[in-house]
Amino acid sequence: MTESTATSPAADAGHSGLRAVVLCGGLNFEREVSLSSGTQVVEELARAGLDAEVRDADADLLPGLAASPADAVFIALHGATGEDGALRAVLDLAGVPYVGSPAAACRLAWDKPAAKSVVRASGATTPDWVALPHSTFRELGAGAVLDLMVARLGLPLIVKPASGGSALGVQKVSNVEELPAAMVSCFAYGDTVMVERYIDGVEVAISVVDLGEGPQALPAVEIAPASGVFDYTARYTPGLTEYHVPARVSPDVADRAAALAVQVHEELGLADLSRTDAIVSPDGEVHFLEVNVSPGLTETSMFPMAVEAAGFELGEVLARLLARRAGIVRR
């Protein structure tokens, strides 16, 4: 989507005096990224004139929020708890307002195969896939099941944990001999593995933000990792990946990518902000890969790049989102 279709947040959105809490950290593989996102959020909010307090999602969180209630919470937690809906369900129970998608929608987006099913059913394109737990391979024989997968989905394949972010555990398998080992290392991240057809093309990330006038797509970020693979290292090591904002695609493709991201946001029932990852194949088709309900907000993350490319200030956008949610308790 281009700048002309996005609505700029007002310079002064009237959020001064808001008591905000930024949640980051957590107890999973993405803790480091989350701490980095949280720091960035607090700095950006400070720039927008809003003091925010950082908290970890640990045993002190609920007593802390009860003793010193926040007007709204910003969830900069990545990975399980922060993104799978669990923490949001607890915040709902506690009557704590927060920015972002509701618990049920998060649970759906967190389950990548389930999210793909919903997105495909809504008419969008997504690479073919199959998601199976370890027990299926054990019970039916891994060789027979893998053989079927390869025969059906072809090669190369993308092997990834069925949930989780930051590309941890994601592998591209080009030769069938590599597949069993890839399955073993992927299952170390979780009990269900998703195997997806590989689509060659341009990887793009489309951020969506809803500042009160419905979800709007921000300019797509094109990802060009030097190594060719956008893995964890390529994501979080400055200089290892080239980003192009807006993506170097035709206006038609850019519009369809923007439309896809908004469609995903709406179909999954997401709120406030999300980031859809997609591949543009050489024929111009935009293939949905996955959606993130708590997009990375670190210095090398794509959501902040998109916000900047749209001509917005990240701190202003985040402050607006907080101000909109302040005082609104979800049931």
């Binding site: 394109t125 370890h134 060789g143 072809g154």
Partner: protein, 428 residues
């Protein structure tokens, strides 16, 4: 998995929910903290003019005298304070020695596995590391001789042997007395310089400290010492004992790096050695580590699945564990972090990418109960990984029907029950 991913996994380790058998942090809370605190306070209030001032590049003379007393406990009785250079931990000492001796492409011999911090220094110097095999008695002399002969035949410039002879990090083993003699004989024969890194030598559980390699040859051995394990790693005080000609170069190098080691911490160590019962404190440390070592070995013996083996250290901080056949400690790590237990994958202790089937377990920091819980979690992780391997290891991909990449096949052409709620014939 790359370094940055490992760092990501490790960011969880600091949380109290996770039992960390990963870090090698000494149990500093076992120190008499009040006494150390008032001692340091006195150093500032009573001697601020010296302790808060620049000092000598070589280090405080009084501390260097006391360092000689400490080294005497391991048989080094001929050391002169003039041969001692105080460094910011022995890590800086190793860096200085490597800078002085090594050019890019030089060869350094080191045990396999070897201390990860040393490998980092050698890599920064662009030196090549050749690992020498070890067993329960430490470095194998025959393997050392074989490596030296091969290097000589290849025309490789071998600059020194880097060794941790006591309670090795990460292997936990100690170089036996006969092997010490054999290695010195080989060094003589091949005119080999030895860098002896000895941070753990005074932390033995079962016997008196062994005689250092340096005690056997003052000209062929450069000795690295540290107060990190016997007193405090936070003070960052270590040293190098080197022949005078080398010492000169080390002092020039350290002045270029840090001007002088921190005065306050040097005075703190010297005062601690002068006024506190430091030998008794070391005994207290070793009793504490012995109890933790026992908890580790007992838990491993009762919980680890068949095919897992490990070393039995009689001092120091570490157990080196070998996983059952086919398992990879690095690939298994996400599962371990999920299970809230942390270790260091063995691959980090090799310069050549080997060691995947090993891990280092540190027992120095967690309490015995935590250690038992950590080993329990680790055993479950290994069992789950074995289960996974039993599913996938026997797969014969050669028997698969032909599969080629299928570019141009659009997703819609391949909708199937596996990934859609619509059948191919259109039924819902």
């Amino acid at each position: 998995m790359k370094t940055s991913e490992i760092r990501a996994l490790f960011s969880v380790v600091s949380r109290p929910e996770v039992v960390s058998l990963a870090g090698g942090m000494p149990a500093v809370t076992a120190l008499p903290l009040d006494a150390v605190g008032s001692m340091i306070g006195d150093l500032v209030s009573g001697m601020g003019a010296q302790t808060l001032q620049y000092g000598s590049g070589q280090g405080d003379p009084r501390l260097r005298e006391r360092i000689c007393d400490v080294m005497a406990l391991e048989g080094i009785t001929d050391a002169s304070p003039s041969e001692v250079v105080v460094t910011v931990g022995s890590q800086q000492g190793l860096d200085l020695v490597t800078r002085v001796f090594c050019d890019p492409d030089d060869v350094i011999l080191a045990e396999g596995p070897s201390y990860v911090g040393a490998l980092g220094v050698f890599q920064a110097a662009e030196a090549r590391v050749r690992h020498i095999a070890m067993d329960d008695d430490g470095l194998i002399p025959e393997a050392l001789e074989e490596a030296l002969a091969e290097c000589r035949a290849n025309g490789d410039r071998v600059k020194f042997l880097y060794t941790v002879p006591n309670f090795h990090n990460p292997a936990g083993v100690t170089l036996s007395e006969p092997r010490r003699q054999a290695i010195m004989t080989i060094a003589e024969r091949y005119d080999l310089l030895i860098v002896e890194d000895n941070p753990y030598g005074l932390l033995g559980f079962d016997h008196e400290p062994m005689r250092a390699l340096r005690a056997r040859d003052p000209h062929r051995v450069i000795y690295l010492g540290s107060f990190s394990k016997t007193f405090s790693p936070g003070l960052r005080v270590g040293w190098v004992l080197a022949p005078l000609a080398v010492r000169e170069k080390l002092v020039l190098a350290t002045e270029a790096q840090v001007l002088c080691p921190p005065s306050l911490t040097q005075y703190a160590v010297a005062r601690y050695l002068d006024t506190q019962p430091w030998r008794e404190q070391i005994k207290l440390f070793t009793e504490l580590y012995r109890e933790r070592r026992d908890a580790t070995l007992e838990s491993l013996a009762s919980l680890m699945p068949a095919g897992t083996t490990w070393t039995r250290p009689d001092g120091g901080f570490y157990v080196w564990l070998k996983l059952p056949h086919g398992l990879d400690a690095k690939l298994m790590q996400p599962r371990a972090v999920n299970a809230h237990v942390a270790y260091v994958p063995g691959i980090g202790f090799y310069a050549d990418g080997s060691g995947r089937e090993y891990m280092r377990l540190s027992y120095c920091y967690p309490e015995p109960d935590q250690i038992r819980e950590g080993v329990r979690r680790l055993a479950r992780v290994i069992e789950a990984e074995l289960d996974l391997h039993s599913t996938f290891d026997g797969v014969d991909t050669g028997a698969f029907r032909t599969a080629r990449p299928a570019p141009g096949h659009e997703a819609e052409e391949m909708v199937g029950p596996a990934n859609s709620d619509t059948y191919e014939d259109g039924r819902a």
